[in-house]
Assembly symmetry: C2
Homo-oligomer: 404 residues x 2
């Protein structure tokens, strides 16, 4: 019997208890030993909850109980969760987490701490919810040199963009509706500004390079400026607009960024709609692959946490392979990356565009007579920005990168 | 240094040597020790090949060399490959294989043999080529009760169907072209009759149930009867026709089958085109997930074999978890499964259809005036077949199952 503690009895934490309970037979078989949730740490009490007698308020009680071998940290944040995780690992207790902020902020330190105490710090649930992506990267694509990871890593923004695309609605009204339905937070900034996706691509980028990719250094742009007109142009070009989190090997350096991009109907990520997430991985031997599923939600995320618990149970006294050094990865600035760009311009600005952007293509929609869309040739980000700036008042809306 | 032997220097075998060579640094880092290909077993000689001095013709030489710890079986077939695998495992040498016939035919026996000799029999490359699917099923979706696996598992047939769909061409001409391009074998039966997909879903089904699913007991139907007219109807209904390999928990029993099916544009498998493969997995906690990539090809398949080699290297003296008992799984016969069916009927047969299939829907294409398409209500396979038979000469072509 392996005793487990769950820190934080919120959505994911209660999901963890539910998964262990509902799939008990399968979970115990795979773990090779019976698992039992001995403690649930939360500040609140849960009178009437079937597990109310497991609830404790003091982490010390868990830390000091030698029977507890595995801890699920489903609290979130980088405060108490950080402290508790360090204490747990230092005591040789493995920690499984869904906390992307903490993993992105302190991953290498916590992995090193786990290694030093011959236990494990696992975080499958921190990226892509229920989609197995950390483990495939660490255990499956081991013979690959990963050249690119491109993910739709945030369900809220993907839901909003999919709905804008499908219904021709504008950002504000779709966001409001998403908030009413509970698909978006009341304070939606972390999602719509791309901060959540940024943490997640920082984690994937670090695993891809084996070094540390600091999320503070990742170029991050949200979806708030995307309009229904942008989607009209995208549809006309058989493309879609997705918030992409990208990590790309540019030859020794790594380009890491989060931004709304146009992708074509041929790309596997094109069909990833609604709350679904997906991670596209390109290896030098394997070529293109993709991992798709529910990127969030109580049970999918909890299932990933429990798969980590099972992994810990099967590897007691062993350190599971994970290459993520504290050494900072060499990042490539976005300024020098090359691609095509899409933007909208007033009819009065067309001549100016022609003079500035040689070789650009023009897209005209019958319903938007007073403007046109422009697709530039392949050019450096900084060169584009300099020319685009010169269009001044002729510009409409924002420019969108063309990705694939 | 871990010494490795490769059995069979054909497409996959030479790919294995190439992957170990090209990604040497990454492979050795992940393996935790340097890997070296010491022997290549083949009946032929390879004068001028950079590895010609590693080529041997007698398996005994490999078997008797205590330095060789890991063997890659990339010969195929169930003859010598079976004998060599048994001998290797009995000698405590781990075996990594791409040989789906052998895994499907003797999986449980070989796994038990490996366990008895504290080594491993791994077969990531046997299904889905480079797509990590065996390892995700065995190590990642461990907290899940898997309810359904639905795969596009054969690249040749998917290429043919995609091309028929895109170009409105008929089966025979596309097959011929595929053969000329080397995408289809000169003897294409194993692919186009679904036998290859059948072996692969037998393997996935066995891992899903933990018991043995005998491929001989899997209902298998190929794509040779699918016509360009079928695709015209599918397109009109926003659907596609794919050769699906299905394993579904029907409550204690397992339905396993391979057949061309119609799937709707909303299903993740809809966009899997050309030589790409994908496996859709539905878990009771996770919901829908999908794994997508190159299902065949030298380097993708070899990369999967090498990922198994790395796994063996990291687990020397340990048996890696794999639940696949020799006990036969309880299969559900196809006769009692329920779904909708699509078929074509001559105009003269419409009244008969109306009398036989209450609640059917009708699809009329302007370019096919002398017939119509019919979609039945949900009904049992055996009930459908009985009624469909009564249509006699009024039927056109074949019936196609509506899957998702």
């Amino acid at each position: 019997m392996i005793q487990v503690a769950v820190l934080g009895y919120g959505t994911v934490g209660s999901g963890v208890v539910e998964v262990i309970e509902k799939n008990r037979e399968m979970v115990n078989k795979k773990a090779g030993e019976d698992l039992n949730v001995k403690y649930i740490l939360d500040l609140r009490d849960f009178p009437g909850d079937p597990y109310e007698n497991k609830v404790v308020h003091d982490f010390a009680q868990i830390l000091e109980d030698d029977e507890v071998k595995i801890i699920c940290e489903t609290m979130g944040g980088v405060g108490a969760a950080y402290t508790f995780t360090k204490q747990a690992l230092s005591a040789g207790k493995s920690v499984c987490t869904s906390n992307k902020e903490l993993v992105a902020a302190h991953g290498p330190e916590l992995l090193a701490l786990a290694k030093a105490h011959t236990c494990n710090y696992l975080f499958e649930a921190s990226v892509g919810g229920g989609i197995p992506i950390i483990r495939p990267l660490n255990y499956s694509l081991t013979a690959e040199h990963i050249e690119e990871i491109m993910g739709i890593l945030n369900g809220t923004t993907n839901y909003i963009l999919s709905k804008m695309e499908k219904e021709g609605a504008d950002f504000d009204s779709v966001l409001k509706e998403a908030q009413e339905k509970g698909y978006a937070e009341r304070n939606p900034q972390a999602d719509v500004e791309g901060f959540d996706a940024c943490r997640k691509i920082a984690i994937l980028s670090s695993l891809m390079t084996g070094k540390n990719v600091d999320y503070n250094r990742i170029y991050t742009e949200g979806i708030t400026k995307i309009t229904s007109e942008d989607f009209a142009y995208a549809a006309f070009m058989s493309m879609s607009i997705k918030l992409l989190a990208i990590s790309r090997d540019t030859g020794g350096r790594t380009l890491a960024m989060v931004a709304p991009c146009m992708i074509s109907r041929e790309h596997p990520l094109y069909m990833v709609n609604g709350v679904f997430n997906a991670v596209f991985v390109k290896g030098n031997m394997l070529g293109d692959s993709m991992y798709y599923g529910r990127g969030a939600g109580k049970l999918p995320t909890a299932s990933a946490v429990v798969s980590d618990v099972i992994d810990c149970a099967r590897h007691q006294g062993k350190v599971i392979m994970c290459f993520w050094d504290s050494e900072e990865a060499q990042l490539q600035g976005i300024d020098d990356t090359e691609r095509k760009f899409f933007f909208r311009v007033k009819k009065s600005g067309e001549e100016k565009v022609k003079a500035l952007f040689a070789g650009a293509e023009y897209v005209r929609l019958p319903e938007l007579e007073e403007e046109c869309g422009v697709i530039t040739g392949t050019m450096k980000e900084k060169d584009f920005e300099a020319l685009y700036e010169q269009l001044g008042e002729e510009k409409i809306g924002t420019r969108i990168r063309m990705e694939a």
